[in-house]
Assembly symmetry: C2
Homo-oligomer: 191 residues x 2
């Protein structure tokens, strides 16, 4: 190897955190060099496509993380209330109880939505569909499962905003608890 290069995984993690904190426009290359300790040369060698490629790489990394830590437990047969619980636990950890922003949510409200629209839509669609399938496997008819899944993802996003706006992680925690109760069937009684 030509040089003692840094750990690419850690570089990506730092990059993701900077994008989360400052948004796409708010993140300057100078800020990235400072945060990662990498010079511009290294950065443009790693990401020839510049800032846009840095963002898409981060988004792909997030997608992979969600597949492993959020979707996989939901898809594990057989479905148990534990699957739901482990998803909500992972979500709570990932979003630091609402104090850490959802990059996909941030991008969805910015004008970069157009640039990354497919990735953003795919992220939310996959999450909703995986959760829908999981809920269908317990007891819910497709329509109800779908709406409940949408409501879950929606409330997590809303909880992040409100929790951050009021600087109160309790709001996020309360939302997660509430979702847990709603998603976990209190009794195996069909409609």
């Amino acid at each position: 190897m030509p040089r003692p290069s840094k750990d690419p995984a850690q570089t990506l993690a730092i990059l993701a955190e900077v994008f989360r904190e400052y948004g796409y426009e708010g993140t300057s290359i100078g800020l990235i060099t400072q945060a990662t300790g990498l010079g511009k040369g290294s950065l443009y060698n790693l990401f020839p496509g510049g800032k846009a490629e840095m963002m898409t790489t981060v988004l792909t990394d997030i997608k992979t993380w969600f597949e492993t830590h959020i979707y996989a437990p939901l898809q594990a047969e057989p479905h148990t209330p534990t699957s739901i619980q482990s998803m909500l636990d992972a979500v709570t950890r990932y979003f630091h109880s609402g104090q850490r922003v959802c990059l996909m949510g941030v991008l969805a409200t910015g004008h970069q939505r157009d640039q990354f629209s497919e990735t953003i839509a795919h992220y939310f669609t996959t999450w909703i569909e995986t959760l829908t399938a999981s809920l269908e496997r317990i007891h819910l008819p497709h329509h109800d499962a779908r709406h409940l899944a949408e409501e879950t993802v929606l409330q997590i996003q809303g909880a992040i905003i409100l929790s951050r706006a009021l600087n109160d992680p309790a709001i996020f925690q309360r939302t997660i608890t509430q979702l847990h109760n709603k998603l976990t069937p209190p009794a195996p009684k069909a409609k």
Copy 2:
């Protein structure tokens, strides 16, 4: 008068729309001059504090709008289901069924949160407290009213994100309908 000046209210409206669309960092003075038709000189005459003052002025304007169109109907005695409905109607119109972003929500997730934190927190706090008071006047105990109010504001924010991410206004509409059912007592039966 030295010059035929433009309508300040319309200028402010345009300014708000640009900030919503591009965020704080994403909005350049050049973009503002283009959108408003005002030269840089006029802008810095109107807002000596520069971009930051433009944003604070917009935020104050939004606050006033909400007081008039959202809070006032909720505070009107006596409380009726119509108060809730008119709030939700105003919200739907204001956010263009989720296709128009909430500037306070956007700022809450950015690193400008620190700069405007008081205004942002005040916006959400006032909304929640007004709705709480309104719900208490029907039938709900304080604790329940407060949680329901929080849930309402939270779901509206989440609906904007999800609705925009999936480019589907129906999600926002469905959320509003759901909130209407939850906020409007189906029967005057106490706990």
